[in-house]
Structures are given as structure tokens and as C-alpha cells.
């Protein structure tokens, strides 16, 4: 049984004064298995923030079913929903810490809501502070903390009530690259060491690459593509996915770059797509050399994601035209090959 199961979920926001109704979510089916990290990517307005808020019922669905741990939550009353929310942690882009409370007080808040006895609260908060590496900041006020520290407090607060599920809404988008890595490492530990399922919303593919097991791509309120991260990064199907993937994986040179490359390099251009380890680059290069074709690598790169290697290499092939033809045919048998015409 999936931890989160959404079936044909719709969410329409009623018309604001002078505006039209907004269909934020238009028929989403999504299953999140216990223990996995799912990355939801999409541009602003794609509906990803709304989608996660339907998971912990901060927003109510217009239609469709949302099951958390098998329990239908769309029909629950406010009191029962509060209980559901206690079992789901949430971290935010702007941290949303309570400025009127210390670090300790922030982490205590969910425990106070849950009615946890004081002694147990203290134990729990102390454990969490150690887990996120902020034991020395327990009595600091939040405005004294750096962005990364604030987010670690946010994570500790979200974990206070031992949730099974953690929702991260652009949790690293307000952080610098180095701090982003720290927070991502912490989220990985949350998943690995505590076994907590994580749904992370982001527009940064780097976050997906380094954190998620599975990626869900949203556009205009729908899920347009989903799959294991390596599959989606190495073989994106939809236009929007390709645009996201292109931000971190070199695919092939665009028209302008291609023209510039042709200026500098003689010969035919071909793009080779390497997937996994079944075909080695050295095998491909050996074929080219056997045919007496000289080649240059003019564009592309190799990625390693979660232990799997893939990449796209654009080569300029130079030599006797007949030999190049033969070499291209031979390589085509080994790896997917695409001609890049002038």
C-alpha cells in the first residue's frame, strides 16, 4: 500500500474578485511508496505547491481521493485532519520559523500541539538538535541564525512528532549552493537513517539529481511525466522535461552553438547517447578508428546519477566520406546515434 495515494485529484480555486477561477490541479494520480524520495518538478504555477498542500490537507480537494497510509482524508473533519497533519512534517522555502520563539521553542511547538509531556519534549528536542547539528544553538533566537541553520531548525521542527512523511516545499531554493548541499545531505540522512518518506518540490534539477529516487514532472496542473530519476534524466520524453533536464545534462548543441561548432570543426556531426554500462565509449571509439575516421568530441558530457552512468556526446567525424558512412553505420548498431545536420 502506498503511503500517499492520490486518485484523479482536482483543485480549483474560486474566482478572486475580478478574476477567473484557477484550475490549479487537473486530474492528478500519484502514488508515493513508503521509504522513497519523490521529487516534483515544474515551473512556477505548474501546481506543485498546491499538490503537496493537498497531501497534508492545508488545501482541500475539489474532487478526487487522497489516501494517507490507506486512510481517505478528503472526507475528514478539521479535528481529524489536525491528527493527520501531526503525522506529516513540512519544511518551507522561507523556513517559516516562529520569530517569537527560540530554536528550542520552534522545535517544541509541534510537541506542544501534540500534547507530549514536558520531560519527553525535552528529550525529543535535544535528540533532534543533535541530529541536525545545532545543539549549541538551542537557545538562540531564529534571527541570529544563517539560512542553512534556519532550514535545519525547520527540518528538526518538521520531524519533532516522528512523522512518516516529510513534505519539502522548495526547501533549498532560498539557500546558496554550498548550504543547499548541506541541507540535501541532511534530508538524505532523514530518509536513510530515520526511514522517512520525502516528497520534495523544486524547480532545481540539481536537487532532484542528488536527492530523489523518482521524479514527477508537472505542467499546467497535470503530471506529464514520471519515472526513476536516472531514466528521466537520460531519456526525457516531454518538452518540459527536456527543458528541465537540459539545465543539468548536456543533450545536444542548439542551432546557434551547432553553427559555431561547424565553423571550427570539419566533418559530419553525430550525437551518441550512452546509457548505462552496456556499451563502453572505448568500444565506440575503437570502431571509428578501425574505419580510419578521425574524430573530435565537440559537445556533451557524462553524468553519474545514483551509481548509473549516462551521457550524450557530440562528435565531429572527419575522413574519407565512404569510411565515415561505414563508421556511422557500425556505431549505430552499438548506441543510439543522431545526425546533427549543418
Amino acid at each position: 500500500m502506498p503511503l500517499v495515494e492520490m486518485t484523479d485529484v482536482h483543485k480549483t480555486f474560486p474566482a478572486a474578485r475580478g478574476g477567473a477561477a484557477v484550475e490549479a490541479i487537473r486530474g492528478v494520480d500519484l502514488a508515493v511508496e513508503a521509504g522513497e524520495i519523490v521529487g516534483i518538478v515544474g515551473y512556477s504555477g505548474a501546481g506543485k505547491s498546491t499538490l503537496v498542500r493537498l497531501i497534508n490537507a492545508l488545501e482541500t480537494t475539489t474532487s478526487g481521493s487522497v489516501r494517507i497510509d490507506g486512510r481517505e482524508i478528503t472526507t475528514l473533519g478539521e479535528r481529524a485532519l489536525r491528527e493527520v497533519r501531526l503525522g506529516i512534517g513540512m519544511v518551507f522555502q522561507q523556513f517559516n520559523l516562529f520569530g517569537s520563539r527560540t530554536v528550542w521553542g520552534n522545535i517544541a511547538y509541534p510537541l506542544e500541539v501534540a500534547g507530549v509531556p514536558r520531560a519527553e519534549q525535552n528529550r525529543r528536542i535535544s535528540d533532534l538538535l543533535h541530529f541536525v547539528g545545532l545543539a549549541d544553538k538551542a537557545h538562540s533566537h531564529v534571527e541570529e541564525l544563517s539560512g542553512g541553520q534556519k532550514q535545519r531548525v525547520g527540518i528538526a521542527r518538521a520531524l519533532a512528532t516522528n512523522p512518516k512523511l516529510l513534505l519539502a516545499d522548495e526547501a533549498t531554493s532560498a539557500l546558496d549552493p554550498e548550504t543547499t548541499q548541506e541541507v540535501l545531505a541532511l534530508l538524505r540522512r532523514v530518509n536513510r537513517e530515520l526511514g522517512i518518506t520525502i516528497v520534495v518540490i523544486t524547480h532545481e534539477m540539481d536537487v532532484v539529481r542528488s536527492l530523489a529516487h523518482r521524479v514527477v514532472v508537472m505542467e499546467a496542473g497535470r503530471i506529464v511525466e514520471e519515472g526513476p530519476v536516472v531514466r528521466v534524466l537520460s531519456d526525457p520524453q516531454q518538452q518540459v522535461t527536456r527543458r528541465f533536464v537540459a539545465t543539468i545534462v548536456d543533450d545536444e548543441p542548439g542551432a546557434e552553438a551547432l553553427a559555431a561548432l561547424h565553423e571550427r570543426h570539419a566533418g559530419r556531426f553525430v550525437k551518441l547517447a550512452f546509457r548505462g554500462d552496456e556499451v563502453r565509449q572505448s568500444d565506440v571509439f575503437a570502431v571509428l578508428l578501425d574505419h580510419g575516421v578521425r574524430f573530435e568530441l565537440v559537445f556533451g558530457g557524462i553524468e553519474e546519477v545514483q551509481g548509473e552512468t549516462f551521457g550524450n556526446l557530440t562528435l565531429a567525424l572527419d575522413g574519407d566520406p565512404a569510411a565515415v558512412d561505414a563508421a556511422v553505420d557500425a556505431v549505430r548498431v552499438l548506441v543510439p546515434l543522431k545526425e546533427l545536420a549543418r
Binding site: E83, R85, G89, P110
Partner: protein
């Protein structure tokens, strides 16, 4: 130096000062509490609020907008019939305190509302996400997060109430306003007038200082 009767007036003066303090204290407490409740109601019933309700919000706004602009000196007269019903008399300090409290309530409600809307909706969402009830959020998030500006707002109100008590002196209220009017202005006794002025200034300064330092402590700046 003009002739002055201040020497004989000291006992009257101190009792007037005491009356002012008493009126201000009651008004600030009662009006402050009622204003806080009304301000909270204005805030939570706003669009997107914790208890969002357009009809309730509209009614409250019409009510506040109707009463708040009435000049206080006229409001005292206008509130007389209601004062007779609530405090049993239309004249004297009880009626004045009643009018002060109601006027302060409407003024304070707006100040409270204005300070509460500055609370980051994100922290309210964070509280909702851990399962806090709406009433709990108002009590443990909204008010504490806005406490610094609220204290400054109440300090501002304190000064305004001191001003209103003096105005009340014109229409039968006691206190320093009445004292300055009766024994200073009408007797052409500038020393008496200025003695009242100085005590009022000191009172306002002390209140302002206390409020500012409390707000600073809360905001830790």
C-alpha cells in the same frame, strides 16, 4: 509673574491627576481588551484568514468605520443614552469612562488589525501544518509574533487616551483636563494651566518610555 492660586489648589490638583490616571487605566484595560478582541475578529475574518467570513468582516468593518471617525467630544454626547443603559448614568465619570472605553475600542481594533496583518502567513501555515487548531494559532502564533508592534500600538493608544480624558473635561468629566480648564483657563491662571500640562507631559513620557522599552525587549533590538 501673574497672580496664581496654585498654592490653594494643590489638593484639588492631585485629586484631578489621580482621576486622570484612573480614567486612563480603566479605559486602556477595558478598551484595550475589547479592542484586541474586535481587532482579532477583523483580522481572522479577512479574506484568506483563519476564520475567513465575508459577511462578518463586512459588518465589523461598517461598524468600526461608522464609529471611529466621530470626534470624541461629540461621541461623549452621542453615547449618553447608551451610557444610561449600561452604567446607569449619562453624566459624570462613569459615563465618560464608558464613552472613552467604546471610542478606544474602535480605535484600538484598527491598530490591532494593522499589526496582525504584518504576521507572515508562512508561520501560520507552518503552525497549521503541524496540526495546530485555529484558536491555538491565534493564541500561540499570531499574537506572540505581532507582540512587539502591538505593544507600540498600545503605547500610541495610551497617549491618545490621555488626550481624550482631557477632552472629556470639557463636557463634565473630571481629571486634569477639567482642572486646567476650570482653574487655569477660566481664571486666567497660566501657572495652573501649565502645571496640569507638565503633569500630563510627564505622564505621557513615562508611558511612552515604558512602552518603547517593552517593545524593544520583545523585539530584542
Amino acid at each position: 509673574m501673574t497672580d496664581t492660586n496654585i498654592g490653594q489648589l494643590w489638593p484639588l490638583f492631585w485629586s484631578a491627576a489621580w482621576e486622570t490616571l484612573y480614567m486612563v487605566a480603566i479605559t486602556l484595560t477595558l478598551g484595550g481588551l475589547l479592542g484586541l478582541l474586535l481587532g482579532l475578529a477583523l483580522y481572522v475574518t479577512r479574506r484568506g484568514g483563519l476564520y475567513a467570513s465575508r459577511p462578518v468582516n463586512v459588518v465589523l468593518n461598517v461598524l468600526v468605520n461608522f464609529f471611529r471617525p466621530i470626534p470624541f467630544v461629540i461621541f461623549i454626547a452621542a453615547a449618553q443614552p447608551l451610557a444610561r443603559v449600561v452604567v446607569g448614568t449619562g453624566i459624570g465619570n462613569p459615563a465618560i469612562i464608558f464613552a472613552l472605553t467604546i471610542a478606544a475600542m474602535f480605535g484600538i481594533s484598527r491598530i490591532v488589525e494593522q499589526n496582525l496583518v504584518t504576521v507572515d502567513p508562512g508561520v501560520i501555515e507552518a503552525a497549521r501544518s503541524v496540526g495546530a487548531s485555529r484558536a491555538r494559532i491565534v493564541r500561540t502564533v499570531v499574537i506572540p509574533e505581532a507582540l512587539g508592534p502591538l505593544v507600540l500600538g498600545y503605547t500610541f493608544v495610551f497617549v491618545a487616551i490621555v488626550d481624550m480624558t482631557a477632552v472629556a473635561g470639557v463636557v463634565g468629566g473630571g481629571g486634569l483636563g477639567n482642572f486646567a480648564l476650570q482653574y487655569g483657563f477660566r481664571q486666567f491662571d497660566t501657572v495652573v494651566t501649565w502645571t496640569a500640562v507638565i503633569v500630563i507631559v510627564v505622564l505621557v513620557q513615562v508611558g511612552q518610555l515604558a512602552g518603547s522599552s517593552a517593545a524593544r525587549r520583545i523585539l530584542r533590538r
